[in-house]
Amino acid sequence: MKYFSWIRVKLDKSEDSFEINGKLNFKELKLFLIQKDIFFKEIFNDNSIKFFINFKEIENETISIIDGDELGILPPVTGG
């Protein structure tokens, strides 16, 4: 998992790794992460944050997450 901008600052780390046994969908992964750290509840309730799996934006919470996948958690961008 990759964290950026204020999320990286707040968590004081830019990435994390979690082992998944078998297969989870994104909805289940969210519950798993909230159980690990209640801060994720704030992240998942923030509509401005986007989530990407292997550089593809997640549009459907039933998408499967398997071991080795990379989840990017992206606050609104400010480049240029």
């Binding site: 600052v9 606050p75 609104p76 961008v77 480049g79 240029g80």
Partner: protein
């Protein structure tokens, strides 16, 4: 050409990539680090640009390809710096070439507007020991709505 770089870049070298007898027009946008116009008490020393590189390259490729198809460009170059960038230095460079000026000018504006709201970069301002996370500007989001109708037409 798309590049994300840690160091300053040479405009002459980038220009040599786009020179062609087929070009009738080349448009250039160069974004630089400026001071905060609304804060007279503090001076920005530098900005820090963070990037999700793999995703940003993919997003910039998509924006570039959309512009090439829509405006029938000859070439398009996008370079974005990351890391700590001092006041006055270059941040982002966009160069578009086409047979006629309208296409190169319009596509160049489209690319920087799309980059600002879509590409995975985040900016922090540095004031001595202090730093501030920059928020997305409402006007940048509104500008995107204008392009939606242009792209559909």
């Amino acid at each position: 050409m798309i590049k994300i770089v840690n160091e300053d870049f040479s405009l002459d070298e980038l220009y040599s990539n786009i020179k062609s007898d087929k070009n009738g027009a080349i448009s250039i946008f160069l974004g630089t680090v400026r001071d905060d116009l609304f804060n007279k008490d503090k001076t920005i020393e530098a900005i820090f640009l963070e990037c999700y590189e793999g995703l940003a390259i993919k997003q910039l490729e998509e924006i570039k390809n959309e512009a090439i198809i829509k405006w029938n460009l000859n070439k398009c170059v996008i370079v974005h710096r990351i890391g700590k960038i001092p006041l006055g230095d270059k941040i982002v460079f966009i160069m578009t070439s086409s047979p006629h000026r309208e296409e190169s000018i319009r596509s160049n504006e489209f690319i920087i507007d799309q980059l600002k709201i879509k590409a995975a970069f985040w900016k922090f301002e540095y004031y001595g020991n202090d730093s501030k996370i920059i928020k997305t500007k409402e006007k940048d989001l509104k500008k995107n709505l204008k392009w939606e109708s242009v792209i559909k037409s």
